[in-house]
Amino acid sequence: MAFHLLCLALLLGQPGNGPSAFIDAELAIRWQKEKLTPAEKTSDQEFLRRVSLDLIGRIPTLQEQEAYLQDAAKDRRRLLVDRLLAQDDFARHWADKWSDWLLGWAAPAEAWDPFHGWLHQHFAKNRSHKELAEKLLLARGTTADNPAVHLYVRLRGEPVPEKDWEKWGQYEMVPFTGHVFRVFHAYRLQCVQCHDNPGDGDVRQEAFQAMNLLFRQVRFTPKPGAGKKSDIEISDDPALNKSGLSPYERRNGLLLFTTPGFYGSLWTKKTNQTRREFFAERFVKHADFARGHVSLMWDYFFGHGLHRTLDFDDMTPANPIVHPKIMDRLAAEFVKSGHDTKALMRWICNSEAYGLKSVANKSNAGPEQAVFFSRMQVRTLTRRQVAESLAVALSGEDYLKRRAKLRAELLAEFTPETIPPASHCELEPLNPEADLSVRQALWLMNGSVIERELVSPQGPVARAVKKYGASPEGLKKVIPHIFAITLGRPPTAREMETLTDPKTAQFRAGKQQADAPAFWTSYYEDLFWALLNSNEFTLNH
């Protein structure tokens, strides 16, 4: 019997001891210990919407919904995950994510766009996560030839006066040092540049300064580029920061000096590597490189990191990892896979925990239970996810043709809030993440692009009118159609009843021409508007 089960598991491609099964087994133990009842399994429609938003950054089209629901395979969820991972939309979405994570959404288009294109290639070819880090850390050449260079340019920080280049290097490089740790090691190293973290024996202020020195020999040379634009070339120049020294001030005012190094291993002039090479080699080998990525991905897919607090990048002793075994196993498998990001995503998305509903039961409703993952957290969508999903909903069959322009128009109407950095020791704070606010609501309720599409003769409403007619009979077919387009599910019986009830607000409003097609068309528009403005549309649940 056990043998048969094992064979079945192998056939399904999910051996009982694979990473997905391991996640589930570990969580099951925790649930028992914490007396948590897991949520129910998602419906197929819920799962399709969730995993599409997560992997390809948008809601599924009608065709994609049909294809999935008609798939008779027993493991169609697994097949779906594979299909999504292979889509070009996957590469586009993850290029979105990483462009925002690395450069920030507010980066100028001349940096963001080529950088995004470069990342798109990276994900389309499924290059390893290690390669991504190395290509960024060791980037050389001009911004025109090698878009990876933009990361250095964007995060080089304060310039040093030219007379001091030999002493301190060309730029302070503080944001760069801090940010690569945050993104790749899930550690807010930038916070220790001014002071040690309390209770943190490992990373100290000196370590930050020593690592920062490893970037002080990066030279930025402006080059005349195409047209009026000026490119920047990056190279290594031993004439910068020649002494390899950097002063830093303790908070008590004590002035100390440090030399280049990576967590205690020192770079010297005899080292047979440039400072950056020295850094990159150690950076990707360090245990936090794999663990950091697991932390980041887990947080992304579950809406809560593996440790106590919400944030994925707060790996200090004060914030213990709640599921150390999952962290260790996934990190080890990730290294074994050759730092294959898609493999890691596959393990997570194929776990049963990922496929649980977000509906709480009595045992797991509180925020403090979130870290046990006995239900999916309700997650907010980023503005890019919302914009791309709006493009799907508004353009219908023309999605492929119209998506790029529509998405750009929609995004131009809504930019997230920003806060300027308070001081030199902070990264420029930007937020590409969900910008849930009154401003998002204004955009969805009253943005001109959405309204234009709703009333356009080529728009979703006109199309529905053409197909089903603008009449009370048409309404009965239009409602399920609009629900499928926007929410990826059929209306409930109650919703159907409410929306077709002549007493519904629209009908009560004293409309005289309730039989006129114009009336029904405007009702369809309002219906579409209402669904796009529903919480269900703007959340991943």
């Binding site: 308070a422 009154v438 309720m445 209402a530 529903s534």
Partner: protein, 436 residues
Amino acid sequence: MLNLWSDRKTPACDGGTRRDFLKAGVLGMGGLTLASLMRARAQAAEAGQRTRNTSVVWLWLGGGPTHVETFDPKMSAPAEFRSTIGSVQTNVAGIEIGSVFEKMARVSDKMAYVRSFAHTNSGHGGGTHWVMTGYNFAAADNGQGQNKPGLGSILARQRGANNPETGLPTYVRMNGILGDGPSWLGSAYAPFDTGGNARNNMNLQVTTERLAERRELLRSFDSLDREVDRTGVMAGLDSFEGQAYNLLLSKARETFDITREDPRTLDLYGNNRLAQQMLMARRLCEAGVGFVTLNYGGWDMHGNIAQSMRQTAPAVDHAVSAFVRDVNQRGMQDDILLVITGEFGRTPRVNGGAGRDHWAPLSTLALSGGGLKMGQTVGESNARAEVPKTTPITPQDLMATVFRVLGIPQDLHYNDPTGRPTTMLNGGRPIRELVG
């Protein structure tokens, strides 16, 4: 939650409102319906009562503005301590301020400079948290999020997120500041941020009647089970939707449009970006906004402070003096309080790089209007502008003063996420010299 880059939400060493948002324990009013909004306005009008309209404009000099070169030049101190840029005599006998504030010097009879403002956290995160919320929070320097509500959010909770009469938000932010969020008061009381294209989206696309019908329709079905989520995400969304709706029905768009201002007033403020934001702040306050935060950064002057001051300060000098003149010309000096402050002051002794480093034991604070007593300095620093010589005035005292001006009861309290009634103030007293 995932938050690599962030806005106010997680600037580097600060935690953020994203977490505030998710932790939001208490969420108040969802949206008003058109009918209830109209009813509230009608009732207010019938009762003949103007909604309480005192406001605060909070000008934040982000980075930690030097207390010396701004409003306590201390020219009697030794050279390495006193203002590196000298001082200017104001129009109030005996009061000098930093030399670059020439225009403010001429309206100083309408200003008050506090020279004993002090706390003890010299970190950007912690210092900001203290001044913005009235409470120290050391962990803010280590990446922890705001754990107390900011002043503007407290007012939004107390007055409601929108002004019932005009529909405008109670709390508006022009550039974010760490610690300006609602923390556990709930995301419904977050500031309305004017950035991005928010203002364009206030151009109504359909008639107000149609918008109302659509909203009724949206509310007629429950598209997502509220039980799904008790973290506040959904309640927050509902509240945002309601606030957006109120904005669309209000005169918000006109209010945000400073070109509708009298040309002479526009001239007074000029082309200076900060000044235009302050003009907008005044327009907003007139229209019922209660709290406006404005961040004007660049004050972390570790090196060559004299040069930095000459670059950074003139815009403030111009904008503040224009604002003070304008408010007084309109006779609104009792209705609007301007607060100028930052996370801390700077080291009294100039450092080796001709700059000054972080120094909370003496911090920067100036005020104008709010019905407070102007044309004075409050408190006094010691001979080298190192610490207060008189009783220190704390962020709590500033908070209590702001409460007084805004008509917020000094004992205002709300239940924190554990259900414990928590007073907003803790020991702060309105600054005696100002409130008389």
